[in-house]
Symmetry: C2
Subunit: 279 residues, 2 copies
């Protein structure tokens, strides 16, 4: 049996009782490193909090291992219980869908233990989840690569009065371009996109396109460390949020569409002026 | 302190460790009855499984109580710890947003414990969550009330190649029309919309509109008891799903947009012909 277990967003205590039971009865436990490195602050020797609480030794599986050695993991799952731990919910990322497809093809039984993910936890800001349009991903711009296909999607959502969740780029264990040219893999240091960088890129694209999909006065909500004890949620115009230090990762951003009165009331609690007044 | 704690989708074991800790240190524990009655099979004397596991007595708060007596609940939370348990994630429904707004106005500290909800657990069928358009709600049609504003939304999503999550009507403790006329509240028996009823209503509206937003050959995914041990997920055309007995509540439905290869591979596992072949 392969258990794919969502860990939720905060720390080791966000696992469900069902998930913990599955971990405890598994002979082998893997944790996906791609996002857990950032959200749980897990380093190669920093698993101890999780290992202590779960009572199991845990193997960190980086993206290469998941993609290249999936069959080894699955082979173990044919004859014993294997737990694969994932930050958030198991189906937030394509990689895990792929793992399930491979498992099913090999005839390995799969059980999924759900948990909170960014996709539903953003509800905390008060904007109703059923009033979101298509989600967009904002990649880090480079000198030569500045893709802006998100622009039309945001524009479309806003014309319909819908909110837009922007997932911000995470780069963990990316081979550097230089090392690829040399034929020997070396990795860039991990990077995550901050709210301010996201807004700068959004405004740069708006300036180029000039179709007023949004402006620096458009209301947004910035999130940092969503679901953690020290999460930060701030609502304000793009211009205002540019000045906010959201601190450590992970960040995400919502571009607000038309709001209903209850949504408006909740947003007010997170608005910048109010927050400063309270401080 | 007011803790608003998501219970997840399955049963009492889907609470997180963080949530359980908060329940255990609360002086008073309420559970929202609106959906928990159906999903957890909780009747007035059927709370014992939860109460046993959580080690606390729990008060069932129906919608009237939440809406009319919120201030009593909040008053208790000013001087002690109060836990308010909610099926799924706390921000799936407007009612809870409203409770948070009231709490903040009264100066009551609020902590949210997130969990899985329909909005992210539908990821299990393999359709990527960032490729969904606006969510729609399908209300029970009556002889005189057949609202169809969902039609344009589905049409729009499909034109863009996006998937559409249809939330199906739940009617718990609705005062009957007759009783309202008599001025004395009596309640209709609880009803939940089955996948087949949802599809019948969708096809009726398509026939009236005739704009080919979808047809009986459009691929959909029907879900029953999502996140439970006995969940059922079946993919097929509307016509095919009409014939499937999805069993007890809750149900929901996804109308599939354009699919990527990985999405297609996952959907295949849930397709009807395949399932029958395996049986």
């Amino acid at each position: 049996m392969l258990y794919i277990i969502g860990l939720g967003l905060g720390d080791e205590k966000d696992i469900t009782l069902r998930g913990l039971e599955a971990v405890q009865k598994s002979q082998k436990v893997f944790i996906e490193a791609y996002t857990s490195l950032l959200s749980f602050g897990i380093s190669s020797d920093g698993l101890s909090t999780l290992e202590k609480l779960y009572g199991k030794s845990i193997t960190v599986a980086d993206r290469e291992m998941v993609e290249e050695k999936a069959d080894d993991i699955l082979l173990e799952a044919t004859s014993s219980d294997v737990a694969f731990l994932v930050v958030g919910d198991p189906f937030g990322a394509t990689t895990h869908t792929d793992l399930v497809v491979r498992a099913k093809k090999l005839g390995v039984d799969v059980k999924v233990v759900h948990n909170a993910s960014v996709m539903n936890a953003i509800g905390v800001c008060g904007l109703q989840l059923y009033r979101y349009g298509e989600t967009v991903s904002l990649p880090f711009f480079t000198d030569t690569w500045r893709p802006d296909s998100f622009y039309e999607k945001i524009q479309r959502n806003r014309k319909l009065g819908l909110h837009t969740l922007c997932l911000l780029d995470i780069r963990v264990k990316e081979p550097s371009l230089e090392s690829l040219c040399r034929g020997k893999k070396q990795y860039e240091p991990p990077r995550f996109m901050a709210v301010s960088v996201a807004i700068e890129q959004l405004l740069e694209v708006e300036q180029m396109r000039g179709e007023n999909a949004y402006t620096e006065d458009t209301t947004c909500v910035g999130f940092a460390r969503l679901g953690s004890e020290d999460q930060l949620v701030v609502a304000g115009s793009m211009k205002q949020l540019l000045e906010v230090d959201f601190g450590p990762p992970l960040h995400c951003l919502v571009i607000v569409g038309d709001t209903h009165p209850v949504e408006e009331e909740m947003l007010d609690f997170y608005k910048l002026a109010k927050k400063q007044g309270q401080a």
